[in-house]
């Protein structure tokens, strides 16, 4: 009957329309802020682009903010362009944190998974529960503790960041290593590796998705941190990380300076580049990590 078919077609169109409207709104919701930041970074004035619809389409695009950011010396006492130095610091810190997180998480995960030790199960549960606590909550106690040990420096920061990732990652590593049959390590030991050699060459390789995930989480945690870095090294602009520098440039750090939102936005875009690169490189790994942990092969 034609009327019924027409009704069905109309209903289908309506359903499609609703899904598309929802999707477009959601996409706009997440893309618009990024677009806004990018547009601001191409502006030559330090104020925020005013939020009218017409302002969303830029009238002139300049790379002035980027130039200032890459060559500018905002803090006169630093003899080299400030921002690249701070980004370098951030990357160094983040890389070190990623490295230590992977080492700690894999060792702990291996022990929790393979070794016979008392109260293993309660320990694993405890490790998991610890991850519920926000890392920021530990900033003040860590500051007080590390001040005593003269650790308010990069070493201290790496020490403070590492458990933030590694504790959670140790739990992930345990799950991941649980899924690797011990036969592989035993075969490797007969092939001519020591137990530690088998751990490095076989277990690491087979748990690579979780290793990559841990590294990424560790990197992100240190790279994006503000609170702990501010507490530990905030007083020394020479040692700042990109995150501290950006806040300074945005005028949020030092209220006396004029806000320069275009520079801030340019900094945000530049800081995003290493993260994007890392993510693109490890995207396949990440998917595998999540699906293997969920038990889907």
């Amino acid at each position: 009957m034609p009327s019924r078919r027409a009704k069905r077609v109309a209903l289908k169109a309506l359903r499609l329309a609703i899904s598309y409207i929802v999707l477009i709104v959601m996409a706009a919701w997440s893309v618009l802020p990024l677009y806004y930041v990018i547009m601001t970074s191409f502006s030559n004035v330090g104020t925020l682009v005013s939020l009218t619809i017409s302002a969303l389409i830029p009238k002139h695009i300049t790379l002035e903010a980027y130039e200032k950011l890459l060559t500018g010396r905002f803090i006169p006492s630093i003899k080299v362009p400030n921002f690249p130095l701070w980004v370098l610091h951030s990357i160094e810190l983040a890389a070190a944190t990623a490295l230590f997180s992977v080492a700690l998480a894999m060792l702990a995960g291996y022990a929790l998974s393979r070794l016979d030790m008392p109260a293993k199960k309660s320990l694993a549960t405890f490790v998991y529960i610890i991850t519920f606590l926000p890392v920021t909550a530990t900033t003040v106690p860590l500051y007080l503790l590390f001040a005593r040990f003269h650790l308010l420096n990069y070493a201290g920061l790496v020490l403070a960041y590492t458990p933030g990732t590694a504790v959670f990652a140790a739990f992930l590593a345990k799950l991941s290593i649980d899924a690797i049959p011990p036969d592989y390590e035993e075969a490797a030991m007969i092939d001519g590796l020591s137990r530690f050699g088998a751990f490095l060459r076989i277990v690491f390789r087979m748990a690579l998705p979780v290793v990559a995930l841990t590294a990424l989480l560790g990197f992100l945690g240190a790279y994006m941190d503000y609170a702990t870095a501010y507490a530990f090294i905030g007083s020394n602009s020479n040692a700042w990380t990109a995150m501290l520098g950006l806040w300074y440039l945005a005028g949020l750090y030092n209220y006396a300076s004029a806000p320069a939102y275009n520079i801030f936005a340019a900094g945000a875009v530049l800081m995003g580049i290493p993260l994007m690169a890392l993510f693109l490189v490890s995207q396949r790994m990440m998917t595998r990590a999540y699906s293997s942990l969920a038990g889907i092969k």
């Binding site: 592989y184 035993e186 075969a187 030991m189 007969i190 092939d191 001519g192 390789r205 087979m206």
Partner: protein, 361 residues
């Protein structure tokens, strides 16, 4: 020369439920060039035994000697043994070539030598056409070959095999067995092979060891172990169906069942070992009974047609026995069949210790 020797080896595992002791004083020695099959029920420590020999597990008590040397404190990588795992344990992230080359690369051998060896072993096992595939693309039989190739390439003269055929199809298994035998004949390597499959054990072994209750119950020529089991447990474990066992007494030159109408002449081999009135446990293999002739008779309680043979369960005056009839038997439940047991096929065991009277305890 005793190439592999275990002296009073004990191993206990702690588990949540308590502890298990799969090895309770294993004494075992293997001569060079033998293909020893260790047969035993599942979960009775066969794999544990291999892992102790390989050094993957440290025994709680006792000693392990390889090539005449004490190796208790030698780590697996320095024991120069190879092992084929039940799961094959070929690394999924490496190609077949890299898998086989891995042990050699760890020894830092020159590149050309590694390449030559890998290709030689691959050719021997006929996997030279799949060298650049990943394990995920291989069939079960191919994976098994890769695992064996990996074990051979090291040149270890002791190879341990942990049920390497358990994951193969029945048809493939027959060929794999034959090939393994051929390989063993060609290379003369000492192989210790663990399985719970009796057919595999009997067809492969040059020496058969039976592991049960944490000790080696019987060890020797497979035919000998089958025909003259060292004790009544081995008799009841080996064979399908296993040996018929019944309590009996020696009376006037006959072994007479305590229950049931069963009477067989004392075998010549035992004539000097038994005395009038002595209590024994007697046993005979179902396939040794001759159905359809003889003085004994029993009522058929069950008929199992397996194809090549038929298992007939008979009740002989209260004693139930299993008899084997070649091919499909024209017999059905409720029939009365006559049979005889040639006295030379009878085994006699001590009722207290379970030991075969013919063998020294």
């Amino acid at each position: 020369m005793e190439y592999v020797k275990l002296v009073d080896v004990w191993k206990t595992y702690r588990t949540k439920a308590g502890s298990v002791t799969p090895l309770r004083g294993v004494n075992f020695s293997v001569d060079k060039g033998e293909l020893v099959v260790v047969l035993g029920p599942s979960g009775e420590g066969k794999t544990t035994l291999l892992r102790v020999i390989a050094g993957l597990l440290r025994q709680d008590r006792g000693h392990v000697y390889l090539r005449g040397e004490l190796v208790d404190d030698v780590p697996p990588k320095d024991r120069n043994v190879a092992m084929v795992f039940q799961s094959y344990a070929i690394y999924p992230f490496m190609t077949v070539y890299d898998n086989i080359a891995f042990p050699l690369r760890l020894q830092h051998r020159p590149k050309q030598e590694i390449d030559a060896k890998v290709r030689q072993v691959a050719k021997l096992l006929r996997i030279d056409d799949i060298l650049y595939k990943k394990p995920g693309q291989l069939s079960g039989g191919q994976r098994q070959r890769v695992a064996i190739a990996k074990a051979l390439v090291k040149g270890a003269d002791i190879i341990l095999m942990d049920e390497p055929m358990a994951n193969l199809d029945a048809q493939v298994r027959v060929f794999a067995r034959e090939e393994l035998k051929q390989l063993h004949r060609d290379l003369g390597t000492t192989i210790i092979y663990v399985t719970h499959d009796q057919v595999e054990a009997l067809s492969l072994a040059t020496k058969l060891a039976i592991l049960h209750d944490g000790v080696i119950q019987d060890y020797g020529d497979p035919v000998e172990v089958y025909r003259r089991p060292r004790n009544s447990w081995v008799a009841s474990f080996t064979g399908n169906p296993p040996m018929n066992l019944f309590e009996a007494r020696v009376q006037g030159g006959y072994v007479v069942a305590k229950q049931g109408d069963m009477k067989v002449e004392v075998p010549e081999a035992y004539s000097k070992l038994v005395s009038e009135g002595m209590e024994v446990v007697a046993g005979f293999r179902p396939e040794d009974a001759r159905v359809g002739q003889g003085q004994l008779s029993g009522k058929v309680t069950m008929v199992e047609r397996v194809g090549a043979y038929t298992v007939i369960h008979v009740d002989v005056g209260g004693l139930s026995l299993r008899l084997l009839y070649p091919s499909m038997a024209p017999i059905s439940r409720g029939d009365v069949v006559s049979f005889e047991v040639p006295s030379s096929t009878l085994s006699l065991f001590d009722p207290k210790t379970g030991l075969n009277l013919l063998r020294r305890p």
